[in-house]
């Protein structure tokens, strides 16, 4: 069966190496989904506060808050999530007490790796199962940790043979394993390590988890300044006679302007090699993921305006 396009999924985990712009892409994607009329939730897993700055709102909390029309934002808090889970799913008596729950969680999370992850992943799956939102976009953990997070329900299933947790992980696995419902979007920048990690991660997601890869976003793609004929003209413009002519016409030295253009051309070229490697390596495997290119944004600051630009760039990529 053909998998739905990126926006057709109900649960999308956005990951990538640290510093590649996961949060910006998550925010842009969520804004795009909401603008298409989807009731959308965007959730930040690492509460660093970056998501709030993408929408220029106050800090996001566990209780979701509408940050744009049709778009709600929250940040994950595994303890609050556990508390909600216990009261909703297990109908635990209040007598069990919050203190006991908190202590137990502390213990469980330290003792059995995977428990913290399943509580957070569980909350997101639950929002999908209960159809509270048409789409849930998760600004997930970095590529080094995402496989552990997404395979946690399976790991717990192996460790815990009986009990309520076991029953709970079964429905979670159903949601996570369904490629129509759930996908992972890997964000990379055109640089050596982000590309290498992306290639490895796509392989590991396929081999070690049941979650489908929805696509790869190549973020911060630099503009192509010149086509071949223009390059020749640019080279001629760098000759002394042309430089002098420009200097007198502009009333000042033009060299820094030409240097900046050369800098951009060089940077673009070295980055293009990494994009080629990404495309070729992913393309060589069966069933290559869709690649979405988002341009580098030359902006004074980042906020709602840049989030809108990312949303527009993603829209253009998804529609082409």
């Amino acid at each position: 069966m053909r998998e739905p396009p990126v926006l057709g999924r109900k649960l999308l985990f956005v990951t990538g190496k640290g510093g590649v712009g996961k949060t910006t892409i998550s925010a842009g994607l969520a804004l795009l989904a909401a603008s298409k009329g989807k009731r959308t939730l965007v959730c930040e897993l690492d509460a660093k506060g970056d998501l709030a700055s993408c929408f220029e709102t106050g800090p996001t909390r566990f209780e979701e808050r509408e940050v744009a029309p049709g778009l709600w934002a929250m940040s994950m808090d595994s303890e609050a999530s556990l508390r909600q889970y216990l009261s909703l799913q297990l109908r635990l008596p209040r007598a069990a007490g919050i203190g006991a729950v908190a202590r137990m969680f502390d213990f469980v999370a330290s003792a059995a790796p995977g428990v913290r992850e399943i509580v957070t992943v569980g909350k997101l799956c639950w929002e999908v199962r209960e159809r509270h939102y048409d789409m849930v976009v998760v600004d997930a953990v970095a590529s080094g940790h995402i496989v552990g997070q997404l395979s946690a329900p399976q790991a717990i299933n192996r460790l815990v043979q009986v009990g309520l947790v076991r029953q709970q992980t079964d429905w979670m696995l159903d949601i996570l394993s369904d490629p129509v419902t759930t996908g992972v979007l890997v964000v990379a920048t055109p640089e050596e390590m982000p590309v290498t990690e992306t290639i490895e991660l796509v392989g590991r997601l396929k081999n070690e988890t049941t979650v489908a890869v929805a696509g790869v976003v190549v973020n911060r793609v630099l503009p192509e300044l010149f086509v071949t004929r223009e390059e020749q003209a640019f080279a001629a413009l760098s000759q002394p006679s042309a430089v002098e002519a420009l200097a007198s016409a502009l009333g000042g030295r033009p060299e820094p302007l030409l240097d900046a253009a050369r800098l951009m051309v060089k940077r673009r070229r070295s980055r293009a090699a990494h994009v080629d490697r990404l495309r070729e390596t992913l393309g060589a495997g069966g069933d290559p993921p869709v690649l979405l290119y988002v341009p580098y944004l030359f902006l004074r600051s980042y906020g709602l305006r840049s989030t809108r630009q990312v949303a527009a760039a993603l829209a253009a990529e998804l529609e082409s």
């Binding site: 660093k48 202590r103 080094g144 460790l159 009986v162 003209a233 042309a242 016409a249 502009l250 030359f298």
Partner: protein, 404 residues
């Protein structure tokens, strides 16, 4: 008596006075490469035996340091290496055009092996050690426990320092969810072992029923996890607790070493806004913990000429007057004679727009740099380089920007 003189103002002066340099900062800023550069420069200029401990180097950087190609362990996905420290051959320095005064060694951190060694050292006897090492929960903890990378990096650092085989150790810190996790790792380890929960857990199963106070805890735990799993965990922790004393004592020593005068922290960041924010938070935490943030390395910064006065106006003119300038330049006897004016126009306009774009980012970076620089006496900047570092010459070339 005179007071202490002014502190070091260069990375060289800073590193010369230290035995341990911890290179830290947000993810994706190039910590590993910077750590390698500092170590390589120290080997060249300061002499002695210098070791760089890396966590997850890029393939070409690993090759540049003479490390075997990292293979990824299937359970954790992290790089693992079968060997210990490797010396970077003098020939490699010679090929890069350098004659080092000292030796450069490199080692890749192996979390799993470090855990195993730690267990073997602190276990009361060989049989207990074996039982712990074979326990499936232990496998999970050492292979997947996210925080174990953080803890093991500092633990290995302590071990290497105690062995005393190196004059200077430069450590690249592991990728963590948050830069501060790494710093808190020894404390967390201590907290874990001294927590009431661990004691609660390791109380033999039957006697729990008598303890009224902890009954709700077991009630919840049983319902959620099932008593069999709970018993499995308890068994493991009863074994694991035999290590407690050694672990807690060791974590305290590791903590002391990090706070020692001989240790300095060098924070690496780019001038990207999110990363600057994280780096600032990290510096604050270092001070709050009474650790010694010695220097700041700003990586991949745009050249400063971009912010020089008058250039913005010139670039705007170039775009606005592109057609007129192109016609002029392409006319008979002028510099661009023979070129199509429309082609030259689009090139001029593109050059102008590009400059405005880059200058905007450069100005933002300059503001961020001003803010960050106030937090440290030693600030070094590395320009954004077109090429990735792929050999020792590249590592040393980068080092030149950092060093003095």
């Amino acid at each position: 008596m005179t007071g202490p003189g002014p502190g070091p103002t260069t990375i060289e002066a800073l590193v010369a006075a230290k035995e341990i340099v911890v290179v830290c900062g947000p993810g994706g800023v190039g910590k590993t490469t910077v750590a390698a550069s500092i170590a390589a420069m120290a080997a060249c200029h300061l002499g002695g035996r210098v070791l760089v401990v890396t966590v997850d180097p890029a393939r070409r950087l690993a090759q540049a340091l003479g490390l075997p190609e990292p293979t990824r362990s299937p359970s954790s996905g992290r790089a693992r290496s079968a060997s210990g420290a490797q010396q970077v051959a003098a020939g490699a320095f010679a090929r890069a055009g350098w004659a080092p005064r000292g030796e450069l060694w490199a080692e890749m951190l192996d979390t799993k092996r470090s855990w195993d060694r730690l267990v073997s050292r602190h276990a009361p006897d060989k049989a207990t050690a074996r039982r712990i090492l074979d326990n499936p929960l232990y496998q999970n903890i050492s292979g997947r426990f996210v925080q174990s990378h953080d803890y093991m990096a500092v633990e290995r650092l302590y071990e290497l320092h105690a062995e005393g085989a190196y004059d200077l150790i430069v450590v690249d810190t592991p990728p963590t969810r948050n830069a501060v996790d790494f710093l808190l790792a020894p404390e967390r380890m201590t907290d874990f072992f001294s927590s009431r929960l661990l004691r609660l857990l390791t109380v033999p199963y039957r006697s729990r029923l008598v303890d009224v106070a902890s009954r709700p805890f077991y009630y919840v735990a049983d319902r959620v996890l099932g008593s069999q799993f709970l018993q499995d965990i308890a068994e493991f922790f009863i074994l694991f607790q035999t290590l407690s004393e050694g672990f807690v004592a060791r974590a305290a020593e590791v903590q002391r070493l990090l706070a020692d005068e001989r240790t300095t922290f060098i924070v690496v960041s780019t001038l990207d806004m999110g990363q600057v924010r994280e780096a600032e938070a990290f510096m604050r935490l270092l001070r709050a913990k009474r650790l010694h943030p010695g220097g700041l390395v700003l990586n991949r910064v745009l050249p400063t000429y971009l912010t020089e006065g008058g250039l913005a106006e010139r670039s705007e003119q170039l775009s606005a007057r592109a057609a007129e300038l192109a016609r002029e330049l392409c006319s008979g006897g002028r510099a661009m004679e023979g070129f199509e004016p429309a082609l030259v126009e689009s090139v001029l306009s593109e050059v102008g727009t590009n400059f405005s774009n880059i200058a905007l980012v450069a100005k933002r970076e300059a503001a961020q740099r001003g803010e960050l620089s106030r937090a440290s006496d030693v600030v070094a900047s590395i320009p954004e380089l077109a090429e990735d570092v792929h050999d020792l010459a590249g590592v040393l070339g980068l080092g030149r920007y950092i060093w003095s």
